[in-house]
């Protein structure tokens, strides 16, 4: 039985959290893109972080390959790395920007926000 420390994290081997969606705040001004993007000035993109270890949870929607790789990793971590924690569902955002001809353009950009993470 693993004991929780003061911050709710477990000691030792299992200190890294399982694969899940985490915050990733994107500020276009800080990226230096505010010279062509009018709006939004910033947005929440999220990112995927954490380990894909055995046993994989079903909500992580692992591929068959990820299940095999995770199993192999659990048996011999030196021979096979764990499967990767990556975005499995993304959604678009609208961007209003100025193009190279100085025209104002609205565009819906696909795959800008992580909706769901999984093991692949």
């Amino acid at each position: 039985t693993a004991l929780n420390n003061r911050h709710g994290k477990r000691h030792g081997k299992k200190s890294k959290s399982r694969c899940s969606k985490k915050a990733l705040h994107v500020n276009f001004k800080e990226l230096g893109w505010d010279d062509w993007i009018i709006a939004p000035l910033d947005y929440e993109a999220y990112h995927c972080e954490g380990v894909c270890d055995f046993p994989l949870r079903s909500h992580l929607e692992p591929t068959n390959h990820a299940i095999i790789q995770t199993l192999m990793n659990s048996m011999d971590p030196n021979s096979t790395p764990p499967s990767c924690c990556v975005p499995t569902k993304l959604s678009p955002i609208s961007i209003l920007y100025i193009d190279s001809g100085n025209n104002v353009v609205y565009k819906q950009y696909e795959d800008m926000v992580v909706e769901q993470c999984g093991c692949r």
């Binding site: 985490k22 915050a23 705040h25 500020n27 001004k29 990226l31 230096g32 893109w33 505010d34 010279d35 062509w36 009018i38 709006a39 939004p40 000035l41 910033d42 947005y43 929440e44 999220y46 959604s91 678009p92 955002i93 609208s94 209003l96 920007y97 100025i98 193009d99 190279s100 001809g101 100085n102 025209n103 104002v104 353009v105 609205y106 565009k107 819906q108 950009y109 696909e110 795959d111 926000v113």
Partner: protein, 273 residues
Amino acid sequence: FQSAAIISPSVPRRNKGAKILHDGQRSTKFLKEIFASSPILSHHQEDFNKDAIVPHDYMLSIYRTYSAAERLGLNASFFRSSKSANTITSFVDRGTDDLLHSPLRRQKYLFDVSTLSDKEELVGAELRIFRKVPGDLQTSPTGLYDIQLLSCRSERLLDSRSLDPLDSRKPGWEVLDVWEMFKNRHHSDQGSQICLQLKGTLGKSEMEIDLKQMGFDRTGRTQQEKAILVVYTRSKKRENLFNEMKEKIKSRGSGSRSEEERGLQFKARRRRR
């Protein structure tokens, strides 16, 4: 278009449960407020020149509506107004009125559409012209009158509309469909310029009337009152942000010498990118 407007929710669905790193209320800001408070607009004024690129209210409204729809989990392409496009480009009119010719019988609207990509499928196009309240209502035409939009080259009728002088006592935008012109358009044989011609007639007669009396003259117009050609396109394949960045860098590279000289801060930005 307004009927499709969706008020943006105070807290976006997407942020539910997420760690808000800066200002929790950022997404509730309306664009106008953003423009009023943001250094972006003044930054554009410096970088993109004196003419200042001021987005038309229509483009802001498109952005506001569709981004609000996204937050509600709706696909913007479902809106009839979007014509199932995922890219909507506004081209500002570059035409001028010939003041030597009074009355103003015909008006030419010119647009540089060189940035339209062959790789995108055109799904719609419309001309949006702002009609002011005529200065002298006494001389305004009485009875119904027609406005007609023609192609400059072939004088082919593209769209027409009947207007009531009583309605012209308040300003507004006239929207004319120019999709016919784009349908059979090929970049190679028509170049990068679009020319449209406006005329007004009294009722169904052939008698052309002064466009100034109908509130279409260009004098004293602000940037946001200039006519725009709105082109709706749909990407054939998934595009990524790098395309825009490449285009931007290319256009800067071919800029004038003076632009380059004052571009130290651009270079720093480019390097950062």
